[in-house]
Symmetry: C2
Subunit: 272 residues, 2 copies
Amino acid sequence: MSAVPVVLKVGGGASLAHDAVAADVAWWWKGGNRLVMVHGGAEFLNDISTKLGAPPEFLTSESGHTSRRTDRRTLEIFEMVYCGSMNKGWVERFQLLGVNAVGLSGLDGRIWEGPRKDAIRVVKDGRRLVIRDDYTGRVEKVNASLLLALIESGLLPVLTPPAASTEGEAINVDGDRAAAFTAAALGAHTLVILSNVPGLLARFPDEGSLIPRIRASEIAGFMSVAEGRMKKKVLGAEEALSMGVARVIFADGRVEQPLQRALAGHGTVIGD
Amino acid sequence: MSAVPVVLKVGGGASLAHDAVAADVAWWWKGGNRLVMVHGGAEFLNDISTKLGAPPEFLTSESGHTSRRTDRRTLEIFEMVYCGSMNKGWVERFQLLGVNAVGLSGLDGRIWEGPRKDAIRVVKDGRRLVIRDDYTGRVEKVNASLLLALIESGLLPVLTPPAASTEGEAINVDGDRAAAFTAAALGAHTLVILSNVPGLLARFPDEGSLIPRIRASEIAGFMSVAEGRMKKKVLGAEEALSMGVARVIFADGRVEQPLQRALAGHGTVIGD
């Protein structure tokens, strides 16, 4: 068992049982088990950015992936929601439960670092476009020693995008894939990804069609089953497994004791 | 000389030379000098909270002090602006300058902890009122060991309100007074407070009436000279000196090399 056996990624949807997640993480932590938490905030970001007059815009890449258009103004609202509202909301929940949490973005201490994309090729209304002023990229490096030092001091790290570009700019990165890199860098055994579905569904949105078990060697074949946001989660799972994480669990974040249930195998368990 | 000789408090006003402050701090840091930075964000908060339909409201205490009305909704917008926008903005500036900064609120790791006020007695339209749902308080305890551990790892801490109440709630605290407690807890020799005036003015807003030097024993007598926000700064200075900080410097944050100029004695130098 590594020093940090579990990395937990929690989505940002309003239907997520935030208090149940916090209570379950606090229970795990107080039992002497360590973890690092990663969270999102997409749904609340859409709400606030609309209120501030910069409604969300999504880009579709040539390969069919969808991502948020992140110009400088969006990035600044992104930071307000993810690092201000969501992150401090999680930290406060933990403090109220007696767990000394520390909320950090990937920019802080360069916890998450990677290249900013210099151009994004997208398809819009059937036309191909190249966008150059987007602040997005991907995580390639994790400051594991800072995370381990915090944990050794008894502090629970609560992480959120943005990450730092190689040059030091704030960049929007995918939270699921950042969590996968974090799990690998910490030598975690398990990556748990909680969202507003019970796991990977064979026939989305039919929750009765949950796929309970996928072998690591077969995960790539399930990309075609994943809908929307789930595509990035499957990609993150594939990356985590290829970097040595033993298992990835997609589980329901809308229920009581969501972490315990996930660790007990409720959801989609991916690994050998 | 202590491990952290200087604590720097920077206001949140739009007229502040943010890039000049960051460049000067980076110069100081790269010269091997350590510091902890504390920042505000009041002006931008007024702007964003108005846009989000919760315009700022200020309370006047029976003793004549002014403070921001911080109900739960204001607190949440406060966190967005201070912890999201302002804090990550400072961290990004430092990362771009090659300084590995870590942005934290006082809630994180309980860096700043103190009691939440259970009731605020105010005077409104000549009537006395008691407000009980306000999220304000004051810092009484600083997690100096976390700050020192970060600094020893080569990381520049960048701190901002809110603080943690004893129970773990997020509470709005005065940034100048929080900086004073931080300086004392770190055994800092000097607390520098940069704002949009050259220092304490005998006849505000006449910048020609700068008071260059005040003895520690005489600071209390200058409270009557301080206008508006400057009152809290004088109070913070008094507290810092009483807790062992050797000198407090109020200086201009609108100029080039503001930290170097302050440390060279430009501004109001308070101490023996």
